[in-house]
């Protein structure tokens, strides 16, 4: 019997398919970029050959297993060839060096709005609580106050600021700091996610977060501890508040896409905003981690007021320089 066309077709190419299968498997396990050079050259070639074999097989072969095999293989190879990303380290370096500051700069106006709302919240919280201490409870969640309320004595309030590591550890303050870290991360992520609801809930959230800070400040200021409180909160607080402001900006971007998608479909607009927002959010999580580290390490070990202010100033300068000059020289890869 004469050989069937598809049988000969398969016999001629089977070896290269098997080879591609092997390369795809190791590319999936270790990443395309970590393959040895000859394999990196061979994989796209084999992929193209196999893709065209699939086209041919579809039109001449009636062997279903063959066509299904080729479809699966080409799909996997496609992900390796066109879905290839750089090494993990390269991705991180590109992100920190270029993508994050660029994304923040692009969202400049929304960052300003978000910061303005937080600032208004701080001012209102401070102003109201200074005039009427009872309003403190309206602004501060009891969980977060941890005993720092108008009923506390000035000594207790002073202790929360100047406690050393041992005492803090005994009183569970370190655990409380960690709780604050997850709480603040959640506020930041909530600010982003609420953007889906048209961005409107983002503003009250930012406002109330600011108001809480303002209320805290008013409480401490009323006992003459205002300067000390600022020295306690600012070293990590600058990073933390900035992170929340940026998250709010990302949320507002989502809200804008939801309410005013422009010429694009709502879904397409959300997708773009979601991508840019996620870029900011990734950086925000990193910033919150840094804030958490500063808080965990320095807050209880550095009790000198001057040092605290110096630290706060350093972080402020660092972020200013980073966001203003970061990403200027690099190119964003699409």
């Amino acid at each position: 019997m004469s050989t069937t066309k598809s049988v000969g077709f398969r016999r001629q190419r089977e070896r290269s398919w098997r080879e591609l299968e092997k390369l795809v498997a190791s590319a999936e396990a270790r990443g395309f970029k970590s393959l040895p050079l000859p394999d990196r050259v061979a994989l796209p070639k084999l992929y193209r050959a196999t893709a065209s074999a699939l086209s041919v097989a579809r039109s001449i072969a009636l062997d279903r297993n063959l066509v299904e095999y080729l479809e699966a293989l080409v799909a996997r190879a496609y992900c390796c060839v066109y879905g290839a990303r750089g090494s993990a380290f390269g991705v991180i370096r590109e992100f920190v060096g270029v993508r994050f500051p660029v994304a923040v700069n692009r969202a400049g106006r929304r960052v300003a709005l978000s910061g303005l709302v937080v600032g208004l919240g701080v001012w209102l919280g401070y102003d109201r609580v200074t005039n009427d201490p009872e309003l403190y409870y309206a602004f501060v969640e009891p969980d977060l106050a941890a005993g720092r309320d108008p009923l506390a004595t000035t000594t207790i309030l002073r202790d929360t600021i100047y406690m050393d590591a041992d005492e803090a550890s005994r009183s569970g303050l370190s655990a409380f700091a960690a709780f604050l870290f997850t709480h603040n991360s959640q506020v930041a992520m909530l600010a982003f996610a609420l953007g889906v609801l048209g961005g409107v809930p983002v503003l009250p959230l930012l406002f109330s977060t600011g108001a809480m800070l303002g209320a805290f400040f008013a409480l401490f200021a009323s006992r003459g501890l205002g300067v000390d409180f600022a020295g306690w909160v600012l070293p990590h607080g600058i990073t933390e508040i900035l992170a929340i402001v940026l998250a709010g900006a990302a949320g507002l971007e989502l809200g804008r896409a939801m309410l005013f998608p422009g010429a694009r479909s709502r879904r397409a607009a959300l997708e773009v905003a979601g991508r840019e927002g996620a870029e900011i959010m990734l950086g925000v999580v990193g910033m919150l981690l840094i804030a958490g580290l500063i808080e965990g390490i320095f807050r209880q070990t550095v009790t000198d007021l001057g040092m605290r202010y110096a630290l706060a100033l350093t972080t402020a300068l660092f972020w200013l320089v980073y966001f203003v000059f970061g990403g200027r020289t690099g190119e964003v890869k699409a």
Binding site: K5, R18, A51
Partner: protein, 294 residues
């Protein structure tokens, strides 16, 4: 690199590669997604429990520095919960262990490269789809279900709305997928089996004429292929029964000693015939397809 993407009504995504080859990627069922979710969630849960237990023991042992250890535990488990998905989906395979087990992966909806921020976006949103509303509902419920009924109800409604969104959307999109521009597709690892079309010996025991082969079409051929590939599932009795049916249909009157051999050779001959016809532009879909008859 973006490829042309056509979305069709069936549960699959068609990507046209830059080479011009259309790839149809199947969108997994909700049940498959759910199974993967349960698997991953169990892994995360176990990991978190391990962190908490080990951390707890360490905290007790370290005495005065216990508070610092506890703080580390909280941060570690937070990072672990979010990092698990991001790490595994960020790897070249693009799948968490649960997804991999069920033969799925995450891809960019436009068919381009899956970027890190997309993975981060689709996974951070998970916190709001599921964990935060549940935690909030729980804490409100502790304060008193009756007083906070509205809030508890709202939180649960959010969870339910997010949970059913893959059922409602055509591409089985989770809210996170929607935001990140990603999509979960089936990523089967198909095996290339032995070619049944290859003639075994030099001469076949059964010779089929053109008339014999003009009856069946592609559909029947592939049903026969499945049957022949079923291995031990093809018993002699089954082969016998199928062979009798085929013989009757195509008008084969000679006796058949080995029904399995008969089926094999019939498959080979039928495929060769249909493929020859295909080259001539005549594709016979099934036995009831009469348009392609020469």
């Amino acid at each position: 690199m973006t490829a042309l993407v056509e979305e069709n009504a069936r549960a699959q995504l068609r990507i046209v590669t830059p080479e011009g080859v259309a790839l149809d990627l199947r969108i997994p069922d909700t049940s498959e997604r759910l199974a993967a979710f349960v698997y991953d969630f169990a892994m995360v849960f176990l990991g978190t429990m391990t962190i908490v237990i080990v951390g707890g023991i360490l905290a007790v042992m370290s005495g005065r520095a216990g508070g610092v250890v506890l703080a580390l535990v909280v941060v570690t488990q937070f990072l672990f919960f979010n990092g698990y998905y991001i790490y595994f989906e960020g790897r070249p395979r693009g799948a968490t262990p649960g997804k991999r087990r069920l033969g799925m992966r995450v891809i960019d909806r436009r068919g381009g490269a899956l970027r890190t921020e997309q993975i981060v976006a689709r996974n951070l949103v998970r916190n709001f789809e599921f964990l935060l509303p549940l935690a909030a509902a729980g804490s409100y419920a502790q304060l008193g279900v009756v007083d906070h009924a509205g809030k508890v109800f709202f939180c649960i409604a959010v969870v339910i709305a997010c949970a059913i969104s893959p059922v409602l959307t055509r591409d089985r999109l989770r809210v996170g997928d929607w935001l990140a521009g990603t999509l979960v597709v089936a990523s089967p690892e198909a095996k290339l089996l032995q070619d049944l079309g290859r003639a075994r010996g030099e001469t076949a025991t059964h010779e089929f004429s053109r008339e014999h082969l003009a009856i069946y079409g592609v559909y029947e051929l592939q049903v026969l292929e499945d049957l022949l590939r079923s291995g031990s599932g093809l018993t002699r009795e089954k082969a016998e029964a199928v062979a009798v049916k085929i013989r009757k249909k195509i008008g084969w009157h000679d006796p058949v000693d080995d029904p399995k051999l008969f089926l094999r050779e019939f498959y080979t001959a039928q495929r060769a015939h249909l493929e020859r016809e295909l080259v001539l532009g005549r594709r016979k879909e099934s036995k009831s397809d009469t348009t392609a008859r020469s």
